[in-house]
């Protein structure tokens, strides 16, 4: 199968993730959408590695997985703290800082 199709798929996944960040209101779902964007980039890296005939892209994908895992730890810590304080995970509720 033509690897270029995977690039198209990754672009679709990245767009779904970006739109998800913009329209969803639950912090957890927003965060999941960001993870989807990172994984779309991974898919693009791996497909390009196949197309370019070198392993750099696959190496990058491994690093990105580790970084994404670290980001989950930090992100969930912050979201859980907010949830315990406000009893909501909505990103519209914390609105003390504005303008």
């Amino acid at each position: 199968m033509n690897p270029a199709n995977y690039i198209v798929l990754s672009a679709v996944l990245f767009s779904i993730g970006a739109i998800g960040v913009l329209v969803r209101r639950n912090a957890i779902v927003v965060f999941m959408s960001i993870e989807l964007m990172l994984n779309a980039a991974n898919l693009a890296f791996v497909s390009f590695a196949r197309m370019n005939g070198n392993l750099d892209g696959q190496t990058v994908a491994f690093f990105v997985m580790v970084v994404a895992a670290a980001e989950v730890v930090v992100g969930l810590a912050i979201i859980v703290t907010i949830f315990r304080t406000r009893r909501t995970a909505s990103i519209d509720e914390p609105n003390l800082l504005k303008y």
Binding site: D56, I79, L97
Partner: protein, 523 residues
Amino acid sequence: MSALATVATADNVSTFQMPSINYYAITPILIMFGAAVVSVLVEAFLPRGARRPVQLVLVLGSLAAAFIVTVDLRGTRLVTGDGAIAVDGPTLLLWGALLVVAFLAALLFAERSIDPLGDAFAPRASTLPGSVDEQEFTRRGFLQTEIWPFLLFSVTGMLAFIAANDLLMMFVALEVMSLPLYLLAGMARRRRLLSQEAALKYFLLGAFSSAFFLYGAAMLYGYSGSVGLVEIADTLSGKTAEGTLVFIGVALLTVGLLFKIAAVPFHQWAPDAYQGAPTPVTGFMAATVKIAAFGALLRVLYVGLGGLRWDWEPMLWVIAALTMLVGSIIAITQTDIKRMLAYSSVAQAGFILIGVMAASPQGLGSAIFYLVAYAFTTIGTFAVVSMVRDASGEATHLSAWAGLGKNSPVVAAVFSLFMLSLAGIPLTSGFVAKFGVFASAIDAGNTWIVIIGVIASIIAAFFYVRVIVLMYFADPGPDTASVVVPSAFTTIALTASAVMTIALGIFPQWLLDIIGQAGVFIR
């Protein structure tokens, strides 16, 4: 069977070459990383009372040691680690500035005499705001010493971010730099709801932008077959047709970097994160993240994408103009000093972008000078903000600053110095810095952006001078805050940044000489 497997393994190993690394050239990164790891162990194994002094010695000692090695490395110009890290003049210069500024910020972190309850950080960030647990921890005088490993990891990431010569290194460094900052932003002792909200917004938008950065890196990898900046530049100069991939890649990559420097329209996080974060953290991230992110942006644009200069320059032109104007105009309407300073830092990012888009050695030098001058002034500014207090904590509303000059003339005078420097008044570092970027832009033929820059400076001068007028020409009212006398930590940081602000304004030549000798990025 096993013999065959061994042969196959040996073959595979022989195709992967162990990269040669010049360990001495990256010693500053290794020192900070080693100190960060030791700092985590200190948290795990030392009793509570012993942690703070040990952490302080570790943090200040490692920052000083890394700075000494950076000075010793001067004149180094090499690429190491298989093209992943470039140590050259601009890298070392920005490393040096970053380490000194981080040292001053660490002194602000360590301050304990300003707040009667302790330092600027929550005794336990995990307790609920207003809960019995929180009061109990406060009463017993607990301190959240985890701030020190966060500071060290963040500085490690910043050093690596400046030196990163390929996009993978740059992405990892970006995250190592940012993740501790997201957490630090949420740890304020007072106004904890604001602080947690700032952390949430900073984190979600920061992660969003790093996803853009990564996807841009993937596109450039697809275009050139490598994540190395030099290889990308070679591919760009070798091909005649540029293609869609490279344009998507450049756009997404620069969005990720422009987010970190808080350029309009990617600045929305900055006011919230600056206002909500504990003031020492605000000073730290305002000064050091700017240095690190501009270092990376300069390297990407000069080394990696220099061949596309005619394509990215118009984009930067628009962004620089918007950043200066929007930052300056919105800052006028602010009533909270931290939020006003956040918009001021947005406007300052626009001025530095003028130096970046000159795309000449002169432009590079002027941007570096601006970064150094801005970083010192910013640390001092937030040191003063942390000292102006009332019963509920820091008095950040502008009305509380009315008449401050009558009650505390020295602190008001120092703050006025910083405001004048940010506004770009002669005899302060801000003037020399602004002059440098404007001159380099005129030499590069960008006269129009300089005109917009001067207009934005005039608008910006209004809100900087307004604070001075408020401090000196208004009478102290019932809400007027008082200035708390800090311990030696804040005093040293404040004095050092005030001295640098004046020194770079009156005798800028020594730093200009160092910048001149540093030369340009290694290819």
